[in-house]
């Protein structure tokens, strides 16, 4: 019986983590569109503007937030430690500053809703009318 429970539990965990969607969000007034390559550019410090030319301020979730790992692996195709190694190189050579980090989906939503240039991401289930969803991964 125990092994059955274990399998059911494992399946449930696997299924839920595979289904956790990340929503890339911006201010409701932001008319820009983005694809995965452009999001990657903004979150790796290789670009500072949306494709329509308006300024972009990427905002990251802290490592403790569940959606951070999902975003790093699904959107940026890197592990969180690969991203840390990448940013260390830029930070300690004066070539870049990583996006500001926020500790939760709620803080991220508040920050994005308050800044017309912001682009961030949250767990898709946390989306509400205060932000606009540009893409889901």
């Amino acid at each position: 019986m125990n092994w059955f429970k274990a399998i059911t539990l494992t399946t449930a965990i696997t299924a839920s983590s595979a289904m956790a969607e990340v929503a890339v969000i911006v201010h409701p007034s932001n008319a820009a569109t983005v694809d995965q390559a452009e999001i990657t550019r903004l979150f790796t410090g290789r670009g500072t503007a949306f494709s329509n030319g308006s300024k972009a301020t990427p905002l990251n979730l802290a490592e403790s937030a569940a959606a951070r790992g999902e975003f790093d692996s699904k959107v940026l195709s890197k592990s969180s430690s690969q991203m840390k190694a990448y940013w260390s190189k830029l930070v300690f050579t004066g070539k870049g500053t990583p996006p500001k980090e926020l500790s939760s989906d709620a803080e991220m939503k508040a920050a994005v809703a308050a800044d017309a240039t912001a682009i961030g991401y949250i767990d898709a289930t946390a989306v509400d009318g205060t932000v606009k969803v540009l893409a889901k991964f």
């Binding site: 190189k89 300690f92 004066g94």
Partner: protein, 356 residues
Amino acid sequence: MKKVLLVTAITALCSHSVQAEVNISGFASVMGGKLTSGTGVPEFGLGPTFLANYPTVGVYEDEWTFKPDSKFGLQMTADLTEGLTATVQLVGRGADDFEAGFEWAYLSYELNEHWTIQAGKKRLPLYYYSDFFDVSYAYLWVRPAADNYTWQIFNYTGVNAQFNYQLGEWSMSGNMYTGREDDGENKLLSEFFGSQPVREIWKDIVGGVLSFNREWLDVRLTYMTYLNERYRNGVQVTWDGKDTRRGKFAGLSANIDYNNWLLLSEVNRLTLDGGDFDTYLLSAGYRIKQWTPYISLADFDSEGEKHSTISAGVRWDFHSSAAFKFQFDDVSDDGINGGQVAGDSNAVTLGIDLVF
């Protein structure tokens, strides 16, 4: 009038600094190692030695030591707003008995979304890993191969302009710099390749770096030229009767990070006094979750000095901000006509790199 201006400027800076947001970050490596075998160079009276770091003279010998590759760095960046930042980086290396010094100290001004101007003291971006050599967490191995990173000067004081552009699918970035370095008592030349104090000057430094990046491919071109001036024991060294000599450095690097495969390479040439000093590095790794086993081959070739290193090791990202590394190095010193450096050696190194 000038005094008034100065006072006004200082007051402005001070009142700003009260509001300035200061970011503190840092890195550290604690690495221990020892030789498993070594020939040394009997004709120089040098015992078995693995020269792991040329510029700071980081050497492993028969006994375990933590000095050659251990270091800590602390970076403080003050955001003075409106695109202006001031950064200092304090680095203490085991090879220097952890005596910390300012390795970087510069002002940075963001002109627009593409260009940033910096002035102050920085690291010379010669080889691919030169400017983040101390930040071991940022690369695969315990250290970038010693056979490539052999040059005695690794900092400069001057001006740097860096840029960032998007060309279709490619990201293009790079920088242009000029400056000089005057090292009162150069460690490598004074302590390892000699026994008298050597003042090493690299002046009229002009260089540039151009990088192209696309998804899994990273290509980098580098060029630098400088005038070398040297004083041994206070007496000016001359080359063919001249007080200075010109060095020209060029390099190409290509790195691939595809489907968990890592292929890293660079090839460089320094031309000095009509002689060529050629170096290359080839490395491959394969990422299996947190583990990345790797191998690498590095080579230095000139008229008299010739050496190469084969390395094998593993990086284990056991923590979100720290990595454990274990590496084995096999050095072959094939120097001729007095061009030997430290003889053949085999060594093991292991330890932890972290960033915060």
